[in-house]
């Protein structure tokens, strides 16, 4: 008998959650800018995933490009011309999207995971432990991000994993602070107290009650952190701290600058990667704003 009650309770919770999600999707669809952002992201994802179909990876290597004219504009060598070594810019753009997006997403996941764990622990446990955690978080927030990232990257060496690590380590404090504030308000709510009165353990509370209620905020925060991560990867790659063996949009900009693309007016080399970054960042921001609007009832009231 007890077993039957337990399953139906979980089923009810599941149904409720699914209904909440479909409801949220319906609200999201109403935001025109949110849908545009989503469309751009889907397109970017398709380009990144479909890279092997769109351009030959071999075109990235200088050895294979010896016969190509160098500095050829798109009118001569399509679709995006060639760089100083005759390599296809289009191939670099398409394959570079993979790294830029991958690093952006991976670093964000890392930052969000750390930030959420720290935020929930600090908020839930509170007391001196929480205070110490928050002090550490505050410290990270005060240190200027780019110098810290540069210093860490210089120290750790240029590779994809290190870049992901560096960006992740420098980006989690914002999330942690946000999550902790939310956890503190959730703690006040009645049902947490009631659960505790029933003798529920801290871990149960954190997992069952706090975490699911914090997830929507985490989601919105994630979409707003990815742009920061992508821009950071771009800047770090531009400064020469990125992985030298892989193409990325930031690296394209570095090479274009170093090869003097500006003075040669070879706009086809550095315009596409920058444009790509701008559109992807803008798209994530729009999606993030649309999500925030759904989650914050105050904002929602203002919209109607």
């Amino acid at each position: 008998m007890r077993g039957a009650v337990a399953t139906s309770a979980t089923r009810i919770a599941w149904l409720r959650r699914r209904r909440a999600v479909t409801g949220a999707w319906r609200d999201y669809r109403r935001s025109r800018t949110g849908m545009i952002g989503l469309a751009v992201l889907v397109l970017a994802g398709l380009v990144a995933l479909g890279a092997p179909l769109l351009a030959d990876e071999g075109d990235l290597r200088a050895v294979n490009a010896i016969d190509n004219p160098s500095w050829a504009p798109p009118s001569e060598f399509g679709p995006l011309g060639t760089d100083n070594l005759g390599r296809s810019v289009w191939a670099q753009f398409v394959w570079g999207s993979r790294i830029s997006l991958l690093v952006g997403l991976a670093a964000t996941v890392l930052a969000i995971v750390i930030g959420t764990v720290v935020g929930i622990s600090a908020g839930f446990v509170g007391g001196r432990f929480g205070g110490v955690l928050m002090r550490g978080t505050e410290w990270f927030l005060v240190i200027p991000f780019l110098p810290l990232a540069i210093v860490l990257a210089a120290v750790l060496g240029p590779s994809i994993e290190n870049i992901i690590l560096v960006i992740g380590i420098t980006s989690w404090p914002g999330t942690a602070r946000l999550i902790r504030a939310q956890v503190l308000t959730l703690k006040e709510r009645l049902y947490v107290d009631r659960s505790r009165a029933f003798g529920a353990s801290g871990r149960h509370l954190m997992g069952r009650h706090i975490l699911p209620n914090v997830m929507p905020l985490v989601l919105a925060n994630t979409t707003l952190t990815v742009p920061i991560a992508i821009l950071s990867e771009t800047t770090l790659s531009f400064l020469g701290l990125g992985d030298p063996t892989r193409a990325s949009w930031g690296k394209m900009l570095e090479e274009a600058f170093r090869a003097g693309a500006i003075t040669r007016e070879a706009w086809w080399y550095f315009l596409p990667p920058g444009l790509g970054i701008m559109l992807v960042v803008l798209a994530f921001t729009l999606c993030g704003q649309a999500l925030e609007a759904i989650l914050d009832p105050r904002l929602r009231e203002r919209r109607s």
Partner: protein
């Protein structure tokens, strides 16, 4: 705000700075296990010469002794010598500081002013075409990598139209005095325009949302009921209240004066601390990087403290609490 809280905040900032100093020390010790060996690669050194050099660089003695020495030196603003030029790092930093301050300071003020204005207009005409256009524009510029915007401006205005120089701070041919100053200003136009455009979006967006929040308040209704014109209601009542979060933002951004233009200075070969950082990366010139990191962090910590105290002063609700 009472004395005790102010002192508390100052102490906290000092603590953070101290932490940065320690962090600096240990980070570079982790990397450079043998700076002397790295520097004098390829040269045959006798053990005595090595020992001598090590002592010169302060690398002898236990970790604790080295740390103590490091802290003492830092307190005296001795950041060591550059691996590349062998000049004291502090001198190099002092020399390179003012071009960065000039560039980033000007850009910060301009982006704040223009951004705030755009934000005010967008909020007041909410939902209109002006609002969508300005918000769209500011979001687009804010989404661009700042140095990429610089590359575009260079392409169009320096290489294409030839109105501005392609880089550097001054033409070697110019004389002194006013002519030199004007030439430097001329060189600063594009980099400053880049930074201003890239960062005005932040001010515009925050001012807009702050003003939208303020516009719902009853005291605005009361101001209109008194017989004030709409413009007066906006400028005398709404905007001053909405400016509070923006002034904090500005104060914090001032802290980024030193470190905010690393990539942009690189693009424009602007001889400031940003370019110095970029150049130090190719070594890596670790004492230089260490010194720069410390200076950058100190600037931000001080600016954050100032922003905190400034806000408390400006908002009477906090001031007299």
């Amino acid at each position: 705000m009472n004395r005790r809280r102010v002192i508390g905040k100052i102490l906290a900032s000092v603590g953070t700075l101290a932490f940065v100093v320690c962090f600096n020390f240990f980070l570079f010790r982790v990397v450079e296990s043998d700076p002397v060996g790295n520097l004098y690669r390829g040269r045959n050194l006798s053990p005595e010469q090595r020992e001598e050099l090590r002592r010169e660089f302060g690398l002898d003695g236990s970790q604790a002794e080295q740390f103590a020495r490091y802290v003492a030196q830092t307190a005296q603003l001795n950041f060591g010598r550059s691996y590349v030029t062998n000049e004291p790092v502090i001198d190099e930093i002092a020399r390179r500081a003012w071009p960065t301050v000039a560039l980033v300071g000007t850009s910060a003020l301009l982006s704040a002013l223009i951004g705030i204005l755009i934000g005010v207009v967008a909020a007041w005409r909410r939902g209109s075409k002006t609002d969508y256009a300005s918000t769209g524009f500011t979001m687009a510029t804010y989404s661009m990598p700042d140095f990429w915007l610089g590359m575009l401006l260079l392409l169009v205005f320096a290489v294409g139209l030839g109105w501005f120089p392609v880089g550097g701070i001054v033409d070697p041919a110019t004389g002194g005095g006013l002519e030199r100053l004007l030439d430097q200003a001329h060189h600063m136009v594009l980099p400053a325009a880049t930074l201003t455009l890239a960062y005005l979006g932040e001010y515009a967006l925050i001012m807009r949302s702050s003003l939208l929040e303020t516009m719902r308040e009853d005291y605005l209704l009361l101001a209109r009921a008194k017989g004030l014109r709409d413009v007066a209601v906006r400028n005398r009542h709404a905007v001053p209240n909405a400016l509070l979060p923006v002034t904090t933002l500005l104060a914090i951004n001032i802290g980024f004066i030193l470190s905010g233009a690393i990539a942009v200075e690189t693009i424009f070969s602007w001889p400031g601390l940003g370019l110095a950082t970029f150049e130090a990366l190719s070594g890596p010139d670790l004492p230089m990087l260490q010194g720069l990191f410390l200076v950058f962090s100190a600037a931000v910590i001080v600016a954050n403290l100032a922003a905190d105290l400034l806000y408390s002063y400006l908002d009477p609700r906090v001031r007299t609490a």
